[in-house]
Symmetry: C2
Subunit: 126 residues, 2 copies
DNA sequence: CAGGGTGGCTTGCAAGTTACAAGTTTGTTC
DNA sequence: GAACAAACTTGTAACTTGCAAGCCACCCTG
């Protein structure tokens, strides 16, 4: 996770978010989840150690940040940074692809698809 | 790889292509590579056992197919299926994201970006 | 103020996956 | 028939994942 395999942007992207869980946590955040227990409740059943590890790595990678929402006891919530939010089109395209080509997957969720990130970037822009 | 974690299309997509190498092999194919030795020569330096394993899994997943291009000795080449080709937009969005947000990555390659798959699908279509 | 419950982790460990190196097979070229 | 090459396969150590259990701080109830 700490060094890139090459300067290819695809390799770089995969080095930061190319595992089985990171993009699913991102998806949950786009759907409004913010707390540890929210992420645990998703239907893919991530385990606690992996969730804690991924949240820490994602924070170090600048995809999310962590802020206390209460003291006593201190509890944190996790939110997308602009860098994390900018991965939405990747999630959208992945959804469209799987919904069409992978058996047993449902249609993409409207909440993910009907959403744009700030400066929207069409595919064939410079 | 054989069963899906949920019916979410993102989870489905990740179950098929959410690892450190599959999308890089796909990228190489979009750039015209077809042979085992072509894939080995990429700058990320995939090792032979992983390459062989990934090619076999991708074939089973229907992303690519394998055909002999000569006998004596039999040699195969690998080509994208329509299902594999349809992952191009995912690669494109990943490239745009990383080029913009990941330090040390180069600009997306024109050969990948200036390319459309047959029925092009804008993001916010049903 | 003891006992149970809850949210958010941490720890331990077995099983699976990856990386690196070396070897094998099939045929071709000198 | 020796060297070479493409395309794998095998062995093994290191790392990552999945599963279960434990832990700590705090609230809540009696």
């Amino acid at each position: 996770m700490t060094s890139l395999r090459s300067d290819c942007p695809i390799a770089g992207g995969l080095d930061m978010a190319g595992d089985r869980w990171t993009l699913l946590i991102l998806r949950d955040m786009f759907l409004g989840k913010r707390r540890y227990s929210d992420f645990l409740s998703s239907s893919e059943k991530i385990t606690t150690n992996i969730l804690a590890d991924r949240l820490a790595k994602m924070e170090r990678a600048g995809l999310i940040n962590k802020k206390p929402y209460q003291d006593r006891p201190v509890r944190h919530e996790y939110r997308l940074t602009p860098k994390g939010r900018a991965l939405l089109p990747v999630l959208q395209q992945m959804s469209l692809w799987a919904a069409r080509y992978v058996d047993g997957t449902a249609a993409p969720e409207d909440a993910l698809m009907n959403r744009a990130i700030a400066p929207s970037r069409p595919v064939s822009v410079l």
